[in-house]
């Protein structure tokens, strides 16, 4: 269903897409220059999907993102410094050097951590939905799954469980066409995740993951369904990642022309062009957003570089760090 979004909302969405893009661009550079530890899992190209999904959540709704969702994390309230600090494994990062970005969560902001153990996030997200239902609230859980992760057994258990228990949860599949290097066609005999939704007895929606407004409209329909107590729903967002799976992925398993084609369909430019064409805002307002986000990210990088590593004494004092009785 098409919905109306005020200018402020669209600019906010645009800003978070830009924040995600610049963050990912810097991740790539820092990784290439070996200035950061671990690896990165880029989401460039997927900003409309990741940001759009989280953009329609209420503050008290719960987000359980995939590990490739800085857009959703930023949209739900994490700051640039929260994530940039984590790239450097510094005390100033959200988890104070305890984890990589693919484990970041924030309970006070209703964000459950993403999970590099694929499928784990789905069954845990169900639990939040179960408790929302037990407490007779109208809160909803949005859980994001990659197309690759969707083939985990846990995801099957989770979707059937959610349907059987009529849980208020929306499973959003970010179908970016590649499970690491393996193309969709090699991993699936279905054409759309809507087919799976039908198999579990829940409605399935599909949207253009490069059109943030279509993402917002469609996931809103799914969330309405869940919020009204009608049980879970599934949304497939057709998207595409420009980068490899991770920082170590040489990204040579697909034609460069394919990447180029999607780059020409840049979801951020698409939203900006629409807003200026529809006289929602001036070109300068968009440029100001780019400039201010650029500064914010660069400041976070400089701050993180200078910031201290976590205190070993605090870490190894088990009672402060571990769940012990």
């Amino acid at each position: 269903m098409q919905r109306e979004y005020p200018k402020e909302k669209l600019l906010d969405v645009y800003r978070h897409m830009v924040q995600t893009r610049i963050f990912e661009r810097e991740c790539e550079t820092l990784n290439k220059n070996k200035e950061i530890l671990g690896s990165i899992h880029g989401s460039m190209g997927e900003e409309a999907t990741s940001v759009g999904l989280a953009a329609v959540l209420r503050k008290d709704d719960l987000l359980a993102p995939s590990y490739r969702d800085p857009g959703a994390l930023f949209m739900k309230g994490l700051t640039t410094l929260d994530l940039v600090g984590m790239l450097f494994a510094k005390e100033c990062g959200k988890t104070k050097g305890r984890t990589r970005v693919l484990h970041v969560g924030d309970f006070s902001k209703n964000i459950y951590p993403p999970n590099p153990i694929l499928g784990a996030s789905q069954v845990i997200a169900n639990g939040a939905a179960l408790s929302f239902k037990m407490d007779k609230t109208d809160r909803v859980v949005l859980n994001i799954i990659g197309d690759g992760a969707s083939n985990e057994g846990a995801v099957h258990e989770a979707m059937n469980f959610a349907a059987a228990k009529e849980l208020p949860i929306v499973f959003a599949v970010e179908n970016n066409r590649y499970a690491w290097s393996t193309p969709f066609e090699k991993n699936f005999k279905i054409h759309s995740f809507v087919e799976r939704a039908i198999g579990y007895g829940m409605p399935g929606f599909i949207c253009d993951g490069y059109d943030v407004i279509d993402v917002m409209d469609t996931v809103s329909d799914a969330i309405d369904h869940a919020r009204l107590g009608k049980g879970p729903a599934l949304v497939e967002c057709r998207t595409y990642r420009w980068s490899g799976h991770s920082g170590n992925d040489k990204n040579v398993y697909r034609p460069q022309s394919e990447i180029l084609r999607f780059r020409q369909n840049d979801p951020i430019k698409r939203l900006g062009d629409y807003m200026t064409a529809a006289n929602i805002c001036m070109e300068q307002e968009l440029q100001d957003i780019w400039d201010s986000v650029e500064k914010e990210v660069q400041d976070a990088i400089e701050f993180s570089k200078a910031a201290p590593y976590p205190d070993p004494d605090e870490f190894f004092r088990m009672d402060t760090m571990m769940a012990v009785n």
Binding site: T95, R98, T99, H103, V104, G105, D106, F107, Y112, P113, N115, I117, G119, A120, Q122, V123, I124, A125, N126, G127, A128, A129, L130, S131, F132, M134, G153, A154, E157, A158, N160, F161, A164, K165, T320, M321, M322, A323, V324, N325
Partner: protein
């Protein structure tokens, strides 16, 4: 005091906790109308309803995952995993998820989760319905592991587990469910996590036994007493965090240590106890430590083989004789 079976004592605790705290709920396969595979939850659904005594699809990952996700929201789920052998199916949720959430999200987020499960032999079910996989979980930081041996302990430890703010794995010995009766305190009764118990005082040999093996150790101790050998039977009750002091004090007195459990030998709980004692009380030892355990073989079906498989009363008596030479 009232005389209850081991299973009735577990149920008494769950019933009291369901009445005391509306956040407590039970979840598992066939625990409602059927009352659980071993009848441990019999009748509770009639008293508390299907939402608090919740039947589920056969989906161990989804069950434990939902419990983890709801525990983080303030619920206090008590999961039944029908057989401990099935824990491996859900072990990602127990080891990688439940134990890590407070680490990721901070101490203020609690994971008051109990996973209770039937373990061990005596049922004539062969492997995959008879194993004792507690040692698989000993190496998971953040997990509490409990193994009651008497009806009173079963009740008091279950209550402690439900009131813990951290994940607890509670192993219930399936042979003891209906065969073992004992006096159980009425009303609120708590056996604190991490507190072991001297089940029989003695002077010559310390036997650290768990679950069903406590009873075999007591029987052997009775026989050996007639020969003038005095056995101290130590039941750690909580395997982790372990009541080391209780064990070390006992060994300081006797100078001899035998461990005894149903699980197989290599890497078992007994190995951990022996390591602790040799590390911290080596000077007290008059003889080398001894581990009694099942062999590193698959649990057989034939009753004559199963009876030989687990360490028996005679095995312990022989080990004691050898140690006393």
């Amino acid at each position: 005091m009232s005389v209850l079976t081991y299973a009735e004592a577990l149920r008494a605790s769950m019933r009291e906790e369901l009445k005391r705290d509306e956040n407590v709920y039970l979840i598992g396969e066939d625990i409602g109308a059927y009352g659980g595979c071993y009848g441990v939850t019999a009748g509770l659904v009639d008293e508390f309803g299907e939402e608090r005594v919740m039947d589920t699809p056969i989906s161990e990952l989804a069950i434990v995952g939902a419990a983890v996700g709801s525990a983080m929201q303030g619920k206090r789920p008590v999961v039944e995993i029908m057989y401990a052998d099935f824990l491996t199916v859900a072990s990602d949720q127990i080891i990688n998820q439940a134990c890590k959430m407070r680490y990721i999200l901070g101490k203020e987020v609690k994971v008051p989760l109990v996973v209770r499960t039937s373990y061990g032999g005596g049922g004539r079910y062969s492997f995959n319905h008879s194993q004792s996989p507690e040692a698989l979980f000993l190496n998971a930081p953040g997990l509490t592991i409990m193994m009651p041996s008497t009806p009173a302990d079963a009740k008091g430890m279950m209550t402690a587990a439900i009131r813990s703010d951290n994940p607890v794995l509670l192993f219930e010995q399936k042979y003891l469910y209906k065969t073992l009766k004992g006096e159980v305190p009425e009303g609120e009764y708590i056996v604190p996590i991490g507190k072991g118990d001297i089940k029989r005082k003695g002077e010559d040999v310390t036997v650290v036994a768990t679950g069903w093996m406590v009873h075999r150790a007591l029987e052997a101790a009775g026989n050996l007493e007639k020969e003038g050998i005095s056995i101290e039977v130590v039941d750690p009750r909580t395997l982790k965090p372990l009541d080391e002091e209780l064990i070390l004090n006992s060994v300081a007195k006797t100078g001899r240590l035998i461990t005894m459990h149903e699980a197989s030998l290599t890497g078992g709980f007994g190995a951990e106890v022996c390591a602790i004692v040799t590390e911290k009380a080596f000077d007290c030892l008059k003889k080398p430590v001894k581990r009694l355990a099942a062999p590193d073989l698959i649990i057989p079906f034939s009753p004559n083989l199963e009876d030989l498989y687990y360490p028996g009363v005679k095995d312990l008596e022989n080990a004691v004789h050898k140690m006393m030479q």
